[in-house]
């Protein structure tokens, strides 16, 4: 009797969250899978007609779509270039921050800034910084005798605009990683360092033999979650290049499209069947992130240390 009563009470406390999650989280999970099996689904019609069922038809269409290839290529470049660089740089910054006492708080605040800002607003600032004639980057390159590079303006190539996007992505990714690494470093037991001091171990060795091994579970965790996060890149592209997802000029529209950008382009498309293409692409993205999640679980089970 008593148990049943407390059961009921618990469900009452859960009810508001559960109701909203059922409608906007749990149901979509199944429905989005279901959508991938429909052909010519038209949700605008009141009776929601579709032509036929298909098992892999939508997936086939996505995987053979040139635009998806472009999206996959761009996303993979963003993931595998920006994440390793930002992990290494933020680790170095965190170690440096941990080694100082004066102004530590001030630096910490500065490094945190990118986290609290608006991706679109800062993307616009970056677009201007990379402007060919009036931006800072080309001025800087000029000091080294380089000719102005067209990054985001008329005449930009895929490579140059990707470089600008990567710089912005790395810049935006530092804050979170620095904070987490710093918290991790501050949790390392001081006695390891004291022991190293007694033995007069050189600093570089302390970093390689104590700090990094002890921090390795966190490094692995951050790296993998950052891979997952970077696979969802989209807002950075919108911020820098706008809805055309490409710099103006030579390049075709959508040259810098990402997987998420691809999904949205099909959500916006109201033609029958388009939503199923979007769903299929979302499932592909899900599978990719699932693979990384399993790697993450496997790595954390192995407890990387040395």
């Amino acid at each position: 009797m008593l148990e049943r009563e407390s059961n009921l009470k618990a469900w009452l406390y859960l009810a508001p969250a559960l109701l909203l999650l059922s409608v906007f989280t749990f149901y979509p999970l199944f429905n989005s899978f279901y959508l991938t099996f429909l052909v010519g689904y038209n949700y605008l019609k009141p009776d929601k007609i579709f032509e036929a069922y298909t098992l892999v038809g939508n997936f086939k269409e996505v995987l053979s779509d040139k635009l998806f290839h472009q999206a996959l290529k761009n996303t993979v470049v963003i993931v595998f270039v920006s994440v390793p660089i930002s992990v290494i740089v933020s680790l170095l910054i965190a170690v440096a921050l941990n080694g100082i006492k004066k102004l530590q708080g001030t630096f910490q605040t500065i490094f945190f800034l990118p986290y609290v800002t608006n991706a679109i607003a800062v993307g616009m600032a970056f677009a201007f910084i990379f402007n060919t004639n009036y931006g800072l980057v080309n001025q800087f390159l000029g000091w080294f005798g380089m000719d102005p590079v067209k990054f985001v303006t008329l005449g930009a190539t895929w490579g140059t605009s990707m470089i600008a996007l990567l710089v912005y992505t790395i810049w935006g990714g530092l804050a979170f990683k620095i904070m987490v690494f710093l918290a991790g470093l501050q949790n390392i037991d001081k006695q390891y360092y004291d022991a190293a001091k007694v033995d007069a171990t050189p600093r570089s060795r302390v970093l390689r033999r104590i700090t990094i091994p002890l921090l390795s579970p966190m490094i692995a965790y951050i790296t993998i979650t950052s891979f997952i996060g970077a696979f969802k890149a989209y807002r950075t592209v919108i911020g820098m290049f706008g809805a055309s997802l490409a710099p103006p000029g030579l390049l075709p529209k959508d040259s810098l499209i990402t997987i998420v950008g691809y999904i949205y382009s099909y959500i916006y498309d109201t033609a029958p069947g388009a939503i199923s293409i979007a769903a299929a692409a979302a499932v592909i993205l899900f599978v990719i992130t699932l693979v990384f999640t399993f790697i993450q679980m496997w790595v954390s089970k192995k407890r990387v240390h040395f």
Binding site: A17, Y27, L103
Partner: protein, 352 residues
């Protein structure tokens, strides 16, 4: 008025404290630097000095490294600010761009122009309405659910919690696709049919209420915040709960009087993060708010950018003024409530 003065005093105070700190650091740095070039007598003294020298050089290296990256982090904000205050002709004449504008040359009028062609206050009002109701929803649903997960025993608790956590690793687009169809089915997009289709405007287009319902309801709860708050609730000792039980305090009273106040810092963190999230929301409003006049601040910014960002001579100063208008409130909130925000973020990282 008094409030304002104390605020200014506070700012002044922290400024002077900061400059003091920098001064002391600089003095110490200088004396260390000088000591590098002092010749010592005797072998022992020499050795001590060389050790000191190495230490100072190392410290200088660390600070230089941090300073370089701090500048890299600040440059976009600074360039945004300085450009927003320039005259547009100046931007086009000055190559290379100057990094300073004299106070008398600062074009504060850019902000006025930007406010106007941006419709800033319309977007601001929309954003505040959506942020307020979504955050209220989040607070109510997460506090209740976290309490159930942290304190109450019920069948299937751990399994349900695991189910909640699993949804966190699923890309948001999986949800967005169906949620878009759901709000469309509910008649919230100004199309025919659906529960809320009665709310359309006379001409059959989406009403403000419909747009707001579509913007708010999907974001009235969050698995991540439930997880986050449950952690905080779990740290409150069981003894407190049992003692309250013995006294005959009801669960709800205990939650309200004991748990919520104790977990207040976490609840404040959730409130701030959620408000800031709405401020930066872009994709969902773009999708479900049919008309520009219902959309949120970031959508407005992107639109303002495309209005003044095309043609032969884009008005970079107005673009950057618009970007500043969106960035500045975030920075103000950040500096006022730094403690809560940074705490929340470094905690959320250690969840693994």
């Amino acid at each position: 008025m008094e409030d304002k003065n104390t605020f200014i005093d506070k700012v002044k105070d922290s400024m002077s404290k900061f400059t003091e700190k920098v001064k002391v650091s600089a003095k110490e740095f200088w004396s260390n630097l000088k000591s590098l070039f002092v010749k010592g007598d005797g072998e022992k003294e020499q050795k001590r000095l060389s050790e000191k020298r190495r230490r100072v050089i190392r410290k200088a290296g660390i600070y230089t490294f941090l300073l370089v990256f701090a500048i890299i982090i600040i440059i976009p904000f600074y360039f945004m600010l300085i450009t927003s205050l320039k005259d547009v002709d100046k931007i086009y004449e000055e190559i290379p761009p100057s990094l300073w504008v004299k106070f008398k040359d600062m074009m504060f009028i850019n902000y006025k122009a930007s406010l106007e062609n941006f419709d800033y206050f319309v977007y601001m009002k929309n954003t505040i309405v959506v942020a307020f109701f979504a955050t209220m929803g989040v607070l109510v649903t997460t506090i209740l659910a976290s309490f159930a997960f942290a304190r109450l025993n019920f069948k299937g608790r751990d399994l349900l919690f695991l189910g909640f956590l699993m949804t966190m690793m699923i890309p948001g687009e999986m949800f967005v696709i169906t949620n878009y169809l759901t709000v469309s089915d509910l008649g919230l997009l100004g199309k025919e049919g659906g529960l809320f289709s009665g709310l359309v405007l006379a001409d059959g287009s989406q009403s403000a209420l419909q747009a707001n319902i579509a913007l708010i309801t999907p974001f009235m709860t969050s698995v991540f915040y439930i997880f986050f708050l449950r952690q905080a609730f779990k740290q409150i000792p069981d003894e407190l709960y049992l003692a309250a039980k013995v006294d005959g305090t009801s669960d709800f009273k205990y939650l309200r009087r004991i748990m919520v106040p104790i977990a207040a810092p976490t609840i404040i963190t959730i409130t701030i993060l959620n408000m800031m999230g709405t401020w930066s929301a872009f994709i969902w409003p773009n999708l479900v708010a049919d008309d520009e006049k219902y959309r949120l601040i970031t959508n407005g910014l992107r639109k303002a950018f495309s209005v003044v960002g095309t043609g032969e001579r884009p008005a970079f100063n107005l673009q950057m003024a618009a970007a500043m208008l969106v960035t500045l409130p975030l920075l103000v909130v950040f500096f006022l409530l730094k403690k809560y925000i940074m705490r929340g973020v470094s905690r959320s990282g250690i969840k693994g």
